[in-house]
Amino acid sequence: MAIPVDSQHWANLIWAVLLLPLAGFLFQAAFGKKITDLLGESAGRAVLGFMAVLPIAAGFLLSVIIARNLGGLEPEARLFITTWFNWIDLQSLQVPFELRVDTLSMTMCLIVTGVGALIHLYATGYMAEDRDYPRFFTYMNLFILFMLLLVLGNNLPLMFIGWEGVGLCSYLLIGFWYQKIENAKAANKAFIVNRIGDWGFMIGMFLLFAVFAASQGVIGEGELRYLSFDVMFAHAQEVIPQFGPVVITAIPLLLFVGAMGKSAQFPLYLWLPDAMAGPTPVSALIHAATMVTAGVYMVTRCHIFFELAPVAMLVVACVGAFTAIFAASVAFGQTDIKRVLAYSTVSQLGYMFLACGVGAFSTGMFHVTTHAFFKALLFLGSGSVIMAMSHDQDMRKYGKLSKYLPVTYFTMLVGWLAIAGIPPLAGFFSKDEILSKVFSSGSHWAGQWGGFNPAVLYVVGLVTAVMTAAYMTRMFYLTFHGPEERWRNLPVPAHHHAHAVAVTGEAHGPDEHGFFLADEEVARRAAEEEETHHELGPGHQPREPGFTIRFPLLALAACSLLGGMILAGLNPLAEMFGAETPHFFEVWNEPSAGAALLPAETMFRTEHSTEWILVGVSVLAAVIGIAYMRFRYAKGLPEDERRLRGWRRAAGMQWYFDAAMYRLFVEWGGRFSNGVKRWFDEGVIDGLLVHGSAWTVGAFGKVFRKTETGYVRTYAMTMLLGSVLILGYFIWVVSR
């Protein structure tokens, strides 16, 4: 099916899409400082900003051209693979540097470059005052490069490079304002938690690698390229089942562990809320629109492995559903506007996995797309609010901002209604489609999953929909509505040693890995921070930001408003009236994301009347959530918001899950590795063998000190012992 492409073919334009951000990255990295030195601060920044947006925007235009050409072909022909050179070429394995142009990768490519270009534009305004302007765009362009490599790469190693690369960029950008201790900590947390996911991905990849390497005879033509997706997918069905049920299930599950890390699913979601420490454009681009959806993309890309293992599908669906409702509940306890959005992202990602888990991969991608629109919009809007409010992110200090920020207000309104699922905005179509597919596939999966009925998942999804509408309404009303401008009631900012002390008190201090800074350092940084920090006060006057910020907001609002209708071709509504209008997005993605083994034709089929009821129910859910919270928050700040208590306090602390994880891994993990050192080097060798009796009489401390000085004779003894064991093995075990 894969058509080899000659060098003149239009599909080769994809290389330009990939290389433009690379050029941008190199330009920013090499000339960033020089240009600001040469042209002066403001002119230099204008040039740099332009040069940062340009490659991404140009990439978007090229992607549009490619996607149009691709759409003009027959559905079966919508796949091109273009190879640049042979990257790894060994006797039994070839890994070419090859890109895959198909409908799925182009969907992601359009999102990454389109939303990415808008967010870059936004960032030129948002970061205008930052002293590390070139560094920011260096990282951002690098991120786009790796993200494109992730979605376009046609084999697992290339995808993995993109996967690690976006992780690296995310790490760098979360810690962009590394002077602040929380940001450095958040960056570390993101990196470490992601390593757990990467571990799963790596093992899964290696397992696939082993499985296919052992089946080269079966594969036949193209056998050396067995890590490439086209070869893998074409032969997965005959190769993998040979290795028994354990391998069949282990491969998708391990891959899913990787997806859980990257896409912040329970229990690996921990890093995403903390990642909000990065600049807001970063949160919008990386931690809402693109990178965190890489897990969904990967599951969709490798859907054939998942389809082979119903158990894995069950796990995906359950983890997705649980994450959706868990994160939604946590969002009620947040007072930081960006953290509310972060948990809502986690929750929406749960929805996407729920869709993948029931086999509706294309629907999951649909939600990825609409979510990219409205969540990027919400984040950018929140960034605009945060800028207007002197970088104070506590929603309880806002109120009645609609008066000051009309454009932000209007665009956020669109985003809010979209995520809540009000028709006919973008979020409604994708969310309703997920829910209806979960419901309708029930009869199919009930048989596969040993009686577990996905109706439970449907109910969870529905409750989450109510909760989503509710907490988003809370956020929206706390920020933009209410009778009073609450920041005016704040005390006049006094000069604040208290703040610095508070920061110090919260910090954990350096742990035994040295991951965190010393107290003095923390205090010093906090004091430094204090000097440059403007505080909200009664005299504060919020102002709407400039054009570069307003334009992306308006563009994304338009997408959120109309995107769903256009992409869905108004199908769910039309179909209810008996029309056979094709669902545009699903038809487009059918060749690459349509189920390969599942009976997709029949399993999602429902009566029109049922469909009606389902739509009604989900709209009702949204309306209930909005209505309840509207009445609660329209009057202003309720008393219980001033100090969260009861279940909301617990929810705000993620039901104590984060603290438990910290205790388990950071504290106990440190003890464990210390224990290994003590146990083997000092315990077994020195304590048990040499000082066996001394140890029992309690001279352990002495022993400990002694090994630290490192006596040669002890070392010699160890060597001697090793030699005796080796010789003994050779002579007795082997010669017998």
């Binding site: 040499v690 004779r713 002890t714 003894m717 001697l720 005796v724 003994g728 002579i731």
Partner: protein
């Protein structure tokens, strides 16, 4: 044949005992003298194996020259017995004895015992003659011979550096 064996065993025992003596006595002088005995006996062992050149070299160079230097140095510097180098923990000593004993037992019982009488060889006539050794040294082993000169060079420079720094 058995006469030879008796002689060999006697000399071998002396070699081993004197080698142990080098590290077992507390006095530097005694250990240096043990080394002299050790080298000398080794030389005799070489002679007993028809290796005239090497045997004489061993006695002349090591016993004669190097050990003389050794003794001079010790006398000149008036080195005493270093107290810190003794193991005071009896457990450690026993553990060391145990492990070393295990090694010796393994090697003796499993390597040498089965070997006795398994193969008997006789050396060719010209074995160990000066001419033969020279021929080997400058024909087949010339590469190794030259490399040993690099080894000696490194050794000399290295020891000069170590000595220079102490002074």
């Amino acid at each position: 044949m058995s006469q030879n064996l008796v002689l060999f065993v006697a000399l071998a025992v002396v070699v081993v005992v004197s080698a142990v003596g080098v590290i077992a006595t507390r006095h530097v002088m005694r250990s240096a003298l043990s080394l002299v005995v050790n080298f000398f006996t080794l030389g005799i062992l070489y002679l007993g194996m028809n290796l005239h050149l090497i045997g004489i070299g061993q006695i002349l160079v090591y016993t004669g020259l190097i050990m003389m230097l050794f003794l001079f140095c010790i006398l000149l510097l008036n080195l005493g017995a270093p107290q810190m180098l003794y193991e005071r923990s009896p457990i450690k000593v026993w553990a060391a004895v145990l492990v070393s004993g295990a090694l010796i037992v393994i090697v003796l019982s499993q390597v040498f015992l089965p070997m006795t009488g398994a193969i008997e060889t006789t050396a060719p006539d010209d074995y160990g003659r000066v001419r033969t050794v020279g021929n080997w040294l400058f024909n087949k082993w010339v590469y190794g011979f030259e490399i040993s000169s690099v080894l000696l060079l490194v050794g000399i420079v290295g020891s000069i550096l170590v000595a220079k720094r102490r002074g």
